[in-house]
Symmetry: C2
Subunit: 312 residues, 2 copies
Amino acid sequence: MTNRDIVTLAGGVGAAKFLRGLIEVHDPDQCAAIVNVADDFRLHGLHISPDLDTVTYTLSDQVNPETGWGRVGESWSVLAELERLGGESWFSLGDKDIALHMFRTQRIAKGASLTEVTKEIATAFDIAVEIMPVTNDPLETKLTLTDGGEIDFQDYFVARQHDVAVSAVRFEGANEAAPAPGVIAAIDDATTIVIAPSNPIVSIGPLLAVDGVKQRLIDNRDRVVAISPIVGGKALKGPADRLLRELGHEASVTGIANIYADIAATLVIDNVDEHHRNAVEAAGLRCIVTDTIMSDVSRSAAITRSLLEAMS
Amino acid sequence: MTNRDIVTLAGGVGAAKFLRGLIEVHDPDQCAAIVNVADDFRLHGLHISPDLDTVTYTLSDQVNPETGWGRVGESWSVLAELERLGGESWFSLGDKDIALHMFRTQRIAKGASLTEVTKEIATAFDIAVEIMPVTNDPLETKLTLTDGGEIDFQDYFVARQHDVAVSAVRFEGANEAAPAPGVIAAIDDATTIVIAPSNPIVSIGPLLAVDGVKQRLIDNRDRVVAISPIVGGKALKGPADRLLRELGHEASVTGIANIYADIAATLVIDNVDEHHRNAVEAAGLRCIVTDTIMSDVSRSAAITRSLLEAMS
């Protein structure tokens, strides 16, 4: 289960698109993904793991291409009835998606770890990439609002559509969260460690908060390459740019370089950010400039080609 | 919420059919049902209350007429995907049914009692009958197998299709289970208390095991009428006849009379059991003989008419 060439630290949609391109150019059996679970939550009794599921659906070509999350060809019978009953419907759950959450919840109730269930799900979706939750312990992203109060990630991200100012982010449980089986070995054994173009604060941040993960990246810094989720000063999706600014970082590839400087030796930036090359290098990172817009699988795959060529 | 004329002690399908007939001849606003929850269980993370749901679906004409449980016009998208994933599919769950379980589970997770959720569901289904769980406390039917071992109710009833010999039945939690709000008052205030044609051991038994319920029936015995779930020595549905024999009772209306003699003054039996009238009366119960086969709503309603006429 270890000794995979390329291990990717992954959040949701951006990471999933990168991984889908990766397996076009590299043997999926030689790829692993360590996935954020600090967005996981329980709703309607179900254990929902949004990032794991987005990676699963994308790698199996089951993802809804319109949204980048959820399943293609999905039906909505359950949610329609739930709405009729006056139930909470702020988090979109399609019928097949619900089945997956029910499966996960029941397996965990029967004693399986999230690591084990995730393997079972990958098998059911015929996915060769090893998908691993970063931890099997409780880990929850909490955001402090500038206006006061602390909220859960899904409240921030989905219910409020990240349209609120944030003054701090923490990961509840981080002090006790141990890396899940396989995680540390996957980092140690990989030839290349990729930090996917995910939100550095709320997607990659929780991975780094799990005991030992950040230190292993520091120790293996030469083999770590990050892909900037910021292009032209903006997040391709989600609130990364706003969140970076609110937390005192620069919302640019230079800001990303500064955040990752101690754990990554290389940063992949988009062609439009070429003028930041000197600043990235000044931050101590080698800079790969290429097209990073993953509008389809072939463009995602092209990033991997550039990245592997530069790292070889 | 109290002061209803007729309160019915109810299990699942048989009770639901009786209640559906009852509201044809009596104002639903004047009817209450105290429902068994010892069959409730958690599967896939969902809080499932089979008897409450069967009563709800039947009273709202949403029940599947083929089975007597589950919903008519149901779709099965979730279960199909759950099966594909290798999940547990021994308990049939349609999409709309799952939505109801998700609603209940989430409301309880947010702090609502089962009593409160059940009211909300009744409102959503436009049901005027007051449907009450007998208790909001844990109460679980456990069956000891003759071959050894103890199993849960749904394992017995659904997974094994009640095709096993049982040597004992107990209700875990009964010593601590308090009656839910409204239950005792409903019994005390009713003009007529009906014990529905449900399994006396595993459907009515748990109701009687909740603190105070049996004593209230004893105290109000003259106003209690039971409808025999045994017709011609057989259960109309389910394992009541076999279970009665295995636990040392007679699988006949006389056996039912003996079981209910201390809590009910009247027993309704089917025409085919007319020859048991003397035995029922010898057990100390008044005997109403009528057609008790509830093959449609009008025949269910006819039982109520006979019963109310005899009790008036």
